[in-house]
Symmetry: D2
Subunit: 271 residues, 4 copies
Amino acid sequence: MTLAWNRYGKARVRLVKVTKALPVHELIDLTVDVQLEGTFDPVYDGDNTLCVATDTMKNTVYAFARQHPVDQVEGFARRLADHFGAKQAVTKVRIAAVEHPWARLTNHAFIQPGGDQWTTVVTRDASGTEIVSGVTNLVVLKTTDSAFAGFPRDQFTTLPETENRIFATSVTARWTYRAGFTDYAVRVGIRQVLIETFAAHDSRSVQHTLKAMAEAALAACPGIAEITLSLPNRHHLLVDLTPFGLDNPNEIFVATDQPFGLIEATVRRSR
Amino acid sequence: MTLAWNRYGKARVRLVKVTKALPVHELIDLTVDVQLEGTFDPVYDGDNTLCVATDTMKNTVYAFARQHPVDQVEGFARRLADHFGAKQAVTKVRIAAVEHPWARLTNHAFIQPGGDQWTTVVTRDASGTEIVSGVTNLVVLKTTDSAFAGFPRDQFTTLPETENRIFATSVTARWTYRAGFTDYAVRVGIRQVLIETFAAHDSRSVQHTLKAMAEAALAACPGIAEITLSLPNRHHLLVDLTPFGLDNPNEIFVATDQPFGLIEATVRRSR
Amino acid sequence: MTLAWNRYGKARVRLVKVTKALPVHELIDLTVDVQLEGTFDPVYDGDNTLCVATDTMKNTVYAFARQHPVDQVEGFARRLADHFGAKQAVTKVRIAAVEHPWARLTNHAFIQPGGDQWTTVVTRDASGTEIVSGVTNLVVLKTTDSAFAGFPRDQFTTLPETENRIFATSVTARWTYRAGFTDYAVRVGIRQVLIETFAAHDSRSVQHTLKAMAEAALAACPGIAEITLSLPNRHHLLVDLTPFGLDNPNEIFVATDQPFGLIEATVRRSR
Amino acid sequence: MTLAWNRYGKARVRLVKVTKALPVHELIDLTVDVQLEGTFDPVYDGDNTLCVATDTMKNTVYAFARQHPVDQVEGFARRLADHFGAKQAVTKVRIAAVEHPWARLTNHAFIQPGGDQWTTVVTRDASGTEIVSGVTNLVVLKTTDSAFAGFPRDQFTTLPETENRIFATSVTARWTYRAGFTDYAVRVGIRQVLIETFAAHDSRSVQHTLKAMAEAALAACPGIAEITLSLPNRHHLLVDLTPFGLDNPNEIFVATDQPFGLIEATVRRSR
């Protein structure tokens, strides 16, 4: 028998860094995962000589946070990737981080807006370093300009065609930066164009809007090579009020959690 | 044996109402619970003559949403309470609602800000109707002006005194309106004064800030008779970096989920 | 303004105790909450002289676990209640514990069965000590012998009567021991009689079965004074297969999470 | 710009099937996901001619459940894969199911044991059909025979070596059946050998035990070609009781949720 693949690391390292150098305090709140792949076969036979403890990984995250800036999460993750990538036996490092935003109230008080969170995944192996940033849990809804019709009907199809439904989704986007691009602050603009395109698009399907959003993001930011969107369809079902002698002109809906449609695609610049 | 207490109802009715009368669409998103108490003893012996089906409760929520405005959630809940309170055998109705806010993007597109949610509980019994509104999941943090010292030390006390810690909490507030008060829009102002007081207070303990927040809310809104605050202490533990030859001047923290301190109190106007 | 009520403490203290005195190791896994009420008004004004730190509460749980047996969780919780009840200003102590069961695999290996968990709440105040134990997350289902008919019909009722539905619920039971009763091992028998009664009962409604279960528990265990059951109705909706030319003789169901019926009652011995 | 990859489908279809042909009722409880890949580019441009509605997918799951047996979940998933694989434009179908076990109480009453769940993923594309079954949420713990020592120490390493720690994990296993193998009932034996190997192994690290478990599974079941194990390390931290004048001879632990080590590997038969 053969060890065909292996990976290990520390997940969910919760890091908060406060910078008080100025009267206006800065706050960064991250959840970090560190994962290594490599020629760790002896570890699986009981020899730990090569096995960097996951506890050491955790410590390294905190020590690096003290030694280096973390306000640009991609740069911080890249430093960690470089550090662990230099360890013996390591062939691939994956640093993933979720950044939990806080909005400023005063010089030293903050409110957590909830809603969406920034993400980044830095992957370093022999072929180089790839940086994929994104946004998750971006929940949006539109009350019109969303249709779904013209789909195939077979013996199991009961869904009526509609020209006017609620379209609600929780956007997860992940975009890959071109090699060498480092202006990670563009994420704010990408998020904004995703939202605006969702709001303005005349949708024939979730897929249709997904592509429009992805293309708009690529058009807005030359620094990204491709973008993947994952759009769960948070169904809002029209309630049948006729038993109560009432009509329901697209007004009263049940919001359901499950089941849900899930639409995912990657759009890339053509060569 | 005696049926000493009983209650039943429908929980988690998910209601979304869209109003398209004007080009600027309005959107209300609620989760509603209906609960009844009463002389339902025969039901417990197998006679359902008095047992309004919980399915009927759900239908009623949707039908009322079509027939009546829901933009003022307290008023909508009160209507439901009056409806069910008139049913045979019912001695007490409890309508609880959580309102999930949406922020407007365009005339007909919205983004869910996440963060805090509005709550209301309307209770109707022979003594009248009580309305308790509030806010939940309001997550705030301050990086200074928070101390905890002077507490008693016994053989199990290891916590050092601190004059400068992170204070992070997820505020849940519930305030009771005076009888007859109906200007429920004051909730926006109460939320604002809670946030401002948290941010500005020079805190000696969570309790100390809790009282200041409660008093500020009562001072700001004469229409409320009392307020209860529940403040979990979301601990941020200073990381010991000395093993790595680093100091940590209140800069690098672990955010922990459990265990957590939980501080709760009610402040009421004196007679 | 007046501090009308207050309570504080430490929640979610995760305690695992392993006893290796014998080759057959013993394992106890608890989540403990400590809550105090009392005349803590000065704390709310910034004076911490009376404010036992919640960190000290946590430490006390661990130290007591080393010093005392925890295999009988009620007894362990009572010790903690007595300890904190003797502190200055404390008028009421509430110790709540959830016990996570583990099943033995070998002398020193265990599997977590999941499913239900034991609970206990010990409350100590000037009037004495009350012990309420129970079980939660006990998920049961029956495929027949469950009806719901004869309920009132109004303009909002669409639910058909049924003589044969699925009855699924997640039982939470809490029973109060008579003063002085200490044979807490009866919990195993109470759990068993609750399950057996659920399985065997010819149900006219959730309420009907709830009462039968409660009465059976009281009959089986003279040491308990009353019992409260909370039975969410985990609806299983019959799928309409007629559009596909298929019947559905009570065979294919959708299991739904929300909304759900929630039935709660307390049954007590008559004097 | 190019649509580089796309997938869509319905997630979390909750299916319960009851078979009452005999007095001993049978119960199957599944959560099913359907996902399709294919040449759906026109859909992303607003033409839904090829876009099988995800609502139709859901209906198909329920109709197939009425028409076909589901007691062997792999076979049921394969039928669904074949059905959707025959649709126009589809190049790949992925049917994933989680089976929620129920234990029998009587002929027609059941208890949900909680704990682990069965999983299966059937993938069908031009190259054939692959079936990967497994188990998830299998939580096990051992109180001895677990060491971690001999690992490298750098400037960020503080973890002491240990010859005797608690080893707790929630096993997720996924094994791939050889082509043509259809005796899916072997899953019970594979689960058993995973548990027994965990319990009996003299562990030098999580990795060490992972490999032993994987090899034991492959040895026990010739029908599987490879197995992937994912073992989160549910850390149990020894509490420092010395401030209270107490020792702690591996007896009192804090069970922590995060951060956690995560160890994953695939073991495959050598050619």
